[in-house]
């Protein structure tokens, strides 16, 4: 009972924060609300007894991704931040897209037969995740590592710039 109440509370927080990300006029506020969304999703993971995943969500998304997003927004600061996230004129068209998308997802959710297991969730999840990552999905795991390394090297080279373009340093 308490977990159902907690689910609806968290879901409300996540949805409200996500709506705020879209509708807030100040881009920094949007970015900060994105962090609230991440925390709410971590809460949902805890409700699903996925404690390790929740901690990863907090560490990676809120400890790193949200921070990078906020910094990116701040560095592109305009004179007037009050109106840095203006709405565009595609509202009507977007409404159609959103309704179609929602209908499609709802249809998928309602028609899928969700398997239900009677056994309780495992108490210790980190070991199982590690077994899968380093066993069955080892190649994908390593490939992701190489991909991230390549992205990092690319970012460093981009940030360094060319030899003669160093006149404008920040």
């Amino acid at each position: 009972m308490a977990s159902v109440a907690a689910f609806y509370l968290l879901a409300a927080v996540v949805l409200a924060a996500a709506a705020g990300v879209v509708f807030k006029r100040n881009l920094v506020h949007s970015a900060l609300l994105l962090a609230v969304t991440f925390i709410g999703v971590a809460g949902l993971y805890i409700l699903l007894a996925a404690d390790f995943l929740a901690a990863v969500q907090l560490l990676v998304y809120n400890g790193a991704v949200a921070v990078i997003v906020v910094i990116g927004v701040m560095l592109t600061q305009k004179g007037d931040m009050k109106n840095s996230n203006p709405p565009n004129r595609m509202g009507r068209g977007l409404l159609v897209v959103v309704v179609l998308l929602a209908a499609g997802m709802l249809a998928a959710v309602l028609t899928t037969k969700w398997p239900v297991v009677a056994q309780p969730p495992p108490g210790e999840t980190a070991g199982a995740i590690a077994g899968l990552l380093l066993g069955e999905f080892a190649i994908a795991f390593e490939a992701a590592a190489v991909l991230l390394l390549a992205a990092m090297i690319g970012a460093i080279i981009l940030a360094r710039g060319g030899e003669n373009r160093g006149s404008h340093r920040t």
């Binding site: 920094v28 506020h29 900060l32 962090a35 404690d51 390790f52 901690a55 990863v56 907090l58 560490l59 809120n62 400890g63 790193a64 949200a66 921070v67 906020v70 910094i71 701040m74 108490g123 210790e124 999840t125 980190a126």
Partner: protein, 335 residues
């Protein structure tokens, strides 16, 4: 204590559970407040000792009531809100900074069986929670609408993200040895010898990275007074300012407690009761951190970055690899 609470309340079991949780959270707050009061005084006295001064000696015997006087001063200060600040974000930042500082205490094992929540992912929970402190600093720096505050906020992010990685890797060595992230397992595995003996490099990396994570000298670039006034704290005064410092001292105690738990055997020790051992180890670690603060000069931003990425991180990685090889050899040895 649980039966006592049940008797006092007399209601259904969940009510007693709720009361117990309230008591435990209250106890965590009490520990933080009490240690902050003691630590503010201790920091003044330790700094005086390091610099061959006397330190506070006017308020009460040996100046023991200095913190009380400080608190009265802070409480009675005017609450100044800068006109150009983003009011809501600005007011929220110190409160949000305090939340992870308190939440980290949930997994600290104070004695055998004396832990608020002995999570399966204990140590990882601590890492995840302490990483949440970055964003409030950034919020404070940005919302103050002050260039020094914003600079301080940026520095916080660079510093905390850079030093979080070696911190995590230094703890990883111990997790590999115990095969568990549960705090009680980590303490239990140190019954015969402390992990500092077989993980000295990890301990070194941890202590340095933890100093940076708590923004203390020589890593206090975030609030470097001589460069950027007080960084993100510049525009805060009175109680809002003291919340920042409460969080800093709470973090100091937390990282010291983690060092004591992971590397120094936690509450284990001969003769004396466990909580006393634990307190003694934590106090010793706090003294080491204070010692650092009054011994080393502040480093530069570029030194901070290159030291973190080129010095600490490789050392932590090598430690993980060596630990792995060591475990493999030990397994082969035993057959």
């Amino acid at each position: 204590m649980r039966p006592l609470v049940e008797e006092m309340i007399g209601g259904p079991a969940w009510l007693a559970d709720l009361a117990m949780i309230a008591v435990q959270i209250g106890a965590i707050f009490a520990v933080i407040m009490a240690s902050a009061i003691v630590l503010v005084y201790a920091e003044r006295k330790v700094s005086a000792f390091m610099q061959m001064r006397i330190g506070p000696n006017r308020v009460g015997p040996w100046g023991i009531l200095q913190t009380t006087a400080d608190m009265l001063k802070l409480l009675s200060k005017e609450d100044i809100v800068p006109r150009a600040a983003e009011r809501r974000v600005w007011a929220l930042a110190p409160v949000l900074l305090f939340v992870p500082a308190v939440a980290a205490y949930a997994v600290l094992p104070l004695d055998a069986g004396l832990v608020f929540a002995d999570l399966n992912i204990g140590i990882f929970y601590f890492v995840a929670i302490s990483s949440q402190a970055t964003l409030p600093f950034l919020m404070a720096g940005w919302a103050s609408n002050n260039k020094y505050a914003l600079l301080g906020g940026m520095r916080t992010v660079a510093q905390m993200i850079s030093y979080e990685i070696p911190l995590v890797f230094s703890l990883l060595g111990v997790v590999m040895l115990t095969g568990s992230m549960k705090m009680s397992d980590i303490v239990g595995a140190q019954r015969d010898f402390w992990f500092i003996l077989i993980q000295p490099a990890a301990f070194l990396v941890y202590v340095i990275a933890a100093t940076a994570e708590t923004n203390r000298t020589p890593f206090d670039l975030v609030e470097a007074e001589s460069e950027i006034i007080a960084g993100p704290f510049t525009e805060y005064s009175g109680m809002r300012w003291s919340l920042f410092f409460l969080a800093e001292y709470a973090n100091l105690v937390a990282v010291s407690a983690i060092a004591a738990t992971v590397f120094l055997g936690g509450w284990q020790g001969p003769w004396l009761p466990g909580w006393l051992w634990f307190t003694a180890k934590v106090v010793m670690m706090i003294y080491v951190f204070m010692w650092f603060r009054w011994t080393f000069p502040r480093i530069r931003v570029d030194q901070l970055m290159s030291f973190g990425w080129k010095g600490l991180l490789p050392l932590a990685l090598v430690n993980v690899v060596v630990t792995g090889i060591g475990i493999y050899i030990a397994q082969q040895w035993r057959g």
